[in-house]
């Protein structure tokens, strides 16, 4: 399938937001938008679903808390319950205040790091990854919207030009 994509470039985020609303109103699918910085409200205008990364972070935190409790219960209480400075190593609960700093830190550690790794994996980011930006200007001062076409190129181009794009290009989608 050698469908084409229309790439419209904008130089202002307000113009971009209006363009997104107009393209959505005309029932065209927006493939992707490239921005040099986060544009507030763009995800809502595009109708993207909310992220679930906070939920994953909560679950990772629970894992971290469990790891801390199981680890210290095994080491300090079950494996070798020594008397260290008179601290009560008879049961986990009796010595718990001393473990809380570690429980807290491991919860934060797991929640933060595993969430970041989840983010990298879901966004397909890693070192030596080939950059995907279709136009180098999108990292500096231009915004780029990609709309796929299905034999209706002229119509899409006209629509995008009417939204205030500074440049509209047609490229092969399998570039």
């Amino acid at each position: 399938m050698s469908d084409k994509v229309v790439q419209a470039l904008y130089n202002d985020d307000d113009v971009l937001m209006n363009a997104v609303k107009k393209v959505k109103a005309e029932k065209h699918h927006i493939e992707e938008i490239y921005c040099p910085f986060p544009v507030h409200g763009l995800d809502k205008a595009m109708g993207l679903e909310g992220t679930r990364i906070a939920i994953t972070s909560f679950m990772y935190g629970c894992v971290g808390l469990t790891v801390a409790i199981v680890m210290m219960n095994y080491i300090m209480i079950e494996d070798w319950p020594q008397d260290i400075g008179g601290k009560p190593s008879f049961s986990y609960i009796e010595n718990m205040p001393a473990f809380v700093p570690i429980m807290f830190e491991l919860t934060v550690f797991f929640a933060a790091h595993l969430m970041v790794i989840t983010f990298y994996m879901r966004s397909k980011l890693w070192p030596f990854k080939k950059a995907e930006n279709p136009d180098v200007r999108t990292t500096d001062d231009h915004f780029l919207m990609e709309v796929p076409t299905h034999g209706n190129e002229a119509e899409v181009v006209a629509l995008l030009q009417s939204t205030g794009a500074v440049e509209v290009n047609i490229v092969d989608s399998d570039h």
Binding site: A54, F58, G86, P97, A98, V100
Partner: protein, 459 residues
Amino acid sequence: MYTFSNRLKMFAIITSVIGALLWGWGFASAPSDVDEVKTMLAEEASHHGGGHGEDANHGEGGGSYDMTQEHGETAGHGEEAGHGDPDEHAEHVFSQLSNKPWSALYVAAFFFMMIALGTLAFYAIQRAAQAGWSPLLFRVMEGITGYLLPGTLIMLVLLLLSVFHVNGIFHWMHDGLTDPASDNYDKLIAGKSGFLNSTGFIIRAVVFIAAWNIFRYFMRKFSLAQDTAEDNRYFKKNFRISAGFLVVFIYTESMMSWDWIMSFDPHWFSTLFGWYVFASMFVSAITVIALVTIYLKSKGLLQEVNDSHIHDLAKFMFGISIFWTYLWFSQFMLIWYSNIPEEVTYFITRIEDYKLPFFGMLAMNFIFPLLILMNSDYKRMNWFVIMAGVVILAGHYIDIFNMVMPATVGDRWFIGAAEIGAVLLFLGIFILVVFSSIAKHPLIAKRNPLIEESRHFHY
């Protein structure tokens, strides 16, 4: 403009009257002399098979450490900690039981006073930080601080009653403690008498109360003057005195917590106590702001207040609840870990005699808000915020209860008629004062330079 509905007014008055009656009943049913206590103890002993002597020793500071025996009165229960002598024991129990209704009154009075004071601090922070989201809520906050004057004056009256020996809840005020010739001589308290003396205590209280109320008066005055002003002069003035108030507040609040709370345990000291009391005060205040805002919004007033404002308040409730826990744990863990006898008695009495309130408040003040208010959708739902708020307020009442009661009534504590009555009494007064203060002026400040931003606040 809000009008104080007659139904709410009646509700507040009835709450107050029922509260006063309950408290009065609790007061009247306290034993009137030592003989009554002796009969009561004899009855108890027959029920418990004579095992009460041991219980009593627990009440005097936990028997597991030698030093705590030496510091028998560390928890400040009363005059002489009786080591087995039944007469002294009866006198000790008598002082605890006669302290009980007074302590209940004191805890409730302090709890509602600290809500007004915490709200004033929150308000001053919003002013000094020039927050863009909160100006729509300024009149609500100003209304809640309306309770500051009556609340602090009630506190002053209670402090004066203690100073003039109407009640004995402050152990260090008892006679003879600083006199080496007296049987009651207490070297530790005598050493602290440079700070802990009735004259200085009352002078400090008057200074704190005057300072807070003067700042509150001018903040409210400038806020109202800005409504009709031609320029932003009063807004700037309010910015300056709010910043000034915050400096004064953190000093006076810290010293107030030593005087009004920590001195119940005059043998004990803790450096982060002022912050700990502040955290309790701050989270209760923010919760009350959220609850009053939601109430007014449900009445169709404050329509410009949207979900995002409630969301922000709920975030503060969540964050400051965790801050409170951080301070609670920091204080507890440092003392538990090092286990120095003169410090650790504070927690030993609480864990032995107050296990349920002491650890129960952790569930109410930390675990419950942590789980309920973590989700960002829940923070935008009014009934979730109300539910979390009610639990947080009850939890912080128990927090103050735990700070005061072990030193005044020891193991004789009970949340009964006197305690519930005192809370209802001050709750009624609080509602009366706060809502009539809110009803005095329009609910939206007119010429605040940030009010437009607040109207369109969206998170």
